[in-house]
Symmetry: C2
Subunit: 127 residues, 2 copies
DNA sequence: AAATATATTTTAGTAATTAAAATATTTACT
DNA sequence: AGTAAATATTTTAATTACTAAAATATATTT
């Protein structure tokens, strides 16, 4: 169990690194990155992911929308749901965040991350 | 990089699991667990770990102190620093948190976690 | 068509966080 | 030693983030 906590700790350090000298808050960064990974998320998904109420999601997204990093797209199949997606500026922002990492290291660590991710997936019994 | 984010995501799910049906906030839980791992932390260390200001640490610790889960110990070598440590109740609380995990699984996943932790350590270039 | 359910937003109040000043102690300087 | 500068934490006032509950809009059920 201690190891899970240390993984958690390192994961936190990772986000700290990303947000270093950044104007956006850590949760804002994480949200942008998740939107990149997932290619957009419904408000409800975001609420689940962060374990916050729907109202908090509205507020988070309002701010990123005002910064032109995110936009709301109402789904045509079910017009109740709103999908949050990165704008062009949002995509650029995500790229910038990654440029903080020493580029030479990127390929080295890619495989390690794939392994870690797999292991942790098994561990939590999820995808 | 995507993998690091997915690790980050799973790490978040881990904390979500821990805090399920818990009266304490996620950060309060994480702090208690970190105190357990490290055997106590200075206020400054806590601020660094969570990337918050010293004032926020005082506030966080006040609450846990009021709940009798944490106590402040002023260091004798340097009386400016305060070390936060778990009380007896705090230790018990940490035990309870771990009991949420299916006990049969615990030994199975221990080694996996050790591996993941090692890999991530290498990755971030830290201990 | 009416009632119920679901997804998001709005609103008002609470809690968490910040920046800056205050306090206490230690270290460095002359 | 004595004063100034540095460090660690706390306090305070103001801001920001979050919640709970009501409101809005759309979908589903009966």
């Amino acid at each position: 169990m201690r190891e899970m906590l240390e993984v958690q700790q390192k994961s936190m350090m990772f986000v700290n690194m990303l947000s270093e000298g950044e104007s956006l808050s850590q949760n804002q960064l994480i949200l942008l990155l998740q939107l990149k990974i997932k290619g957009g998320m419904k408000a409800t998904e975001i609420a689940d992911f962060f374990s916050v109420t729907p109202g908090a999601v509205t507020s988070m997204c309002d701010k990123l929308e005002k910064l032109d990093l995110l936009e709301r797209i109402r789904e045509t199949e079910d017009r109740r749901v709103v999908k949050m997606v990165l704008t062009k500026d949002g995509e650029i922002k995500v790229q910038e965040i990654f440029l903080k990492f020493p580029q030479e290291k990127l390929t080295d660590i890619a495989q390690v991350l794939i392994d870690v991710n797999l292991l942790m997936g098994k561990l939590l019994g999820i995808s």
